[in-house]
Amino acid sequence: MKTWAIVLFALFATWTLQGVPAANARGADDDIIMEEEEPSTTDPAGTPTDTPTDVGDGTDTGSTDSADPGAAVAGDDEKSLPKGDDEDARSYWSDIKVVPRKLILKQNRVELIPYMGVTLNDNLIRHIAFGGEFGYYMSDAMSIGVGGHMYTKQQTDRAYLTGLQQRVLPTLNQYLYTATLNVNYEAAYGKFAVHNKKILQWGIFLSGGLGVTGTEVIPRNAAHEPWTNMNITIQVGAGFRVFINQWLTLWGGVRNYMMQDKFENSNRTQPSADAGESNAAARFINNIVFQVGVSVFFPTSFEYTTFK
């Protein structure tokens, strides 16, 4: 009987006291020990390091701290853990990552980018581009790949108005396709907080490449047959991506596809399409395309190689 009484009392005590730790936990949430009184320390190299309360930001631009994105880039997040005197506090914070890990490690992974784009720098004819890029990351920052897109054209109001107002038929070519071999380099990496709630990571990449662009003349004389050109193309550009998860990013960029294209001669007395083609005028073209898409990394998961 005595044993029964002890058991029942113990059960009662343990079950009714379940809410106490929860209440304590809520209290702890409201009053987290941020160890902000602890002064900044200095590492052996003399570089000031930040307090552990700096969850990825919060330092002057003048100081380089262990919690900055560079640390994130290097994956050195383990070195920013607090070293408080209070052992409880230390254990409490020991598994909180001061610097979030880099969300995506890209080395030895392939990236597939379906995208669409629009040409920016021609007032008379606009092209919508649909295409994709396939890349392989040799390191976490550099990739090589191949990309290409097809164009559909839209002549703008200005193309029509130029004929109406200045009585000039514009000399136009339409783009057909572009394909390039590309080298991309992630030059900048950072993170930002949205409403000081959600931290997102992002990067800026530079891009260069070599390829071809197909174009087709839009004859001023509608009776003439169009002809096509295939132009060696140099591509330079820059863009950004926002990392969503370990295999998906939102991707955007501006790329300039530079080429020497052939147009109808501005001498408007070509008797035939053949004569127009043989007298074609070459002109250097900057075809600037704004592209947006998503990039998907394969394999879709990876193992971190550094400690938390």
């Binding site: 079950w15 936990a25 330092t59 200005r158 000039v168 900048a188 501005s266």
Partner: protein, 296 residues
């Protein structure tokens, strides 16, 4: 039986302790700010940004701007301000050069048959942006930190703004190249008619135009009170950039001396159309007071 009770007691205590421990170990950062001890660059500070600007995707003239933006930040997210930029000069676009190269140096001898403008007439008809300004409200949802080539680190924020856009255009002047019906009658009578465009400019393509404006910008902070400011500004403005007729409206006049009816093309506000007018601005933002506190 006693062993069974002890076992049950042990399991009960163990389970309760584990669940309590799990509750206590719940996410301690839940509900906490993402960033603590950060420099508060914006709240209750006044910002002045002298800047240079350039138009983007203009049809006929690239416009360069000099001006400033003044803004007061109510808090971390909201601010209001006013910007004004003067255009000291502009240059031809590639399209303008291309059209010019095609046009004749002089008006055609029979402008009734071929009213192609001359190079000078075409350039004189263009309107030009002289002033860009307007009030706006700014929303700054995000701030962050970035590393450039893993070498240079700086803080930044990104903001969106919208408001009223005001653009003042300097009107083109086609009058040296056009005639009116009365002038034409006199010229016919005098035997000097010819080499004039038969255009009635009833309303010039200059003056103030109003429309919405919106954009996106970045501050790249150099220190607690200075930042490089890059901004893209879009305005939707109604204008007649070319200065010629667009909608085909015209007036018919009987010319007694010729015994026939002639028509004059009318250029007025009806020839305006809504156009995207875009600018890039690059400036140096200065925040006052210069001291920027840190958050908790």
């Amino acid at each position: 039986m006693k062993k069974l009770l002890h076992f049950l007691l042990f399991v009960s205590i163990l389970g309760t302790s584990l669940s309590a421990y799990a509750v206590e170990r719940g996410d301690p950062l839940k509900g906490q700010p993402a960033v603590r001890k950060r420099v508060l660059y914006l709240p209750e500070r006044f910002e002045v940004t002298p800047s240079l600007g350039v138009s983007f995707l203009q049809d006929y003239r690239h416009t360069f701007l000099v001006g400033a933006k003044a803004e007061y930040h109510l808090n971390d997210y909201l601010s209001f301000g006013f910007s004004a930029h003067f255009a000291p000069f502009s240059i031809n676009t590639g399209l303008t050069d291309e059209i010019q190269a095609t046009l004749p140096n002089q008006l055609e001898s029979d402008t009734w048959v071929n009213p192609t403008p001359s190079k000078d007439a075409m350039m004189s008809a263009l309107n030009e942006i002289k002033l860009v300004m307007g009030p706006h409200i700014t929303y700054t949802p995000a701030f962050g930190k970035m590393g450039l080539f893993s070498t240079v680190f700086f803080n930044f924020d990104v903001y969106f703004f919208g408001g009223l856009g005001i653009v003042m255009f300097e009107a083109g002047d086609l009058s040296p190249y056009t005639d009116t019906p009365d002038q034409y009658r006199q010229a016919v009578s005098a035997g000097t008619a010819g080499q004039k465009l038969h255009i009635l400019v009833e309303e010039e393509n200059g003056g103030m135009r109003f429309g919405p404006q919106a954009g996106i910008g970045f501050h790249f902070f150099l220190n607690s009170w200075m930042a490089i400011n890059a901004e893209f500004r879009w305005m939707y403005i109604k204008r007649n950039a070319a200065g010629f007729d667009r909608n085909g409206d015209r007036v018919y006049e009987f010319i007694e001396a010729e015994g026939m009816t002639r028509d004059w093309v009318i250029v007025d506000n009806g020839d305006e159309s809504w156009e995207n007018t875009m600018f890039f601005h690059f400036g140096l933002s200065m925040f006052f007071p210069q001291f920027a506190p840190r958050s908790n």
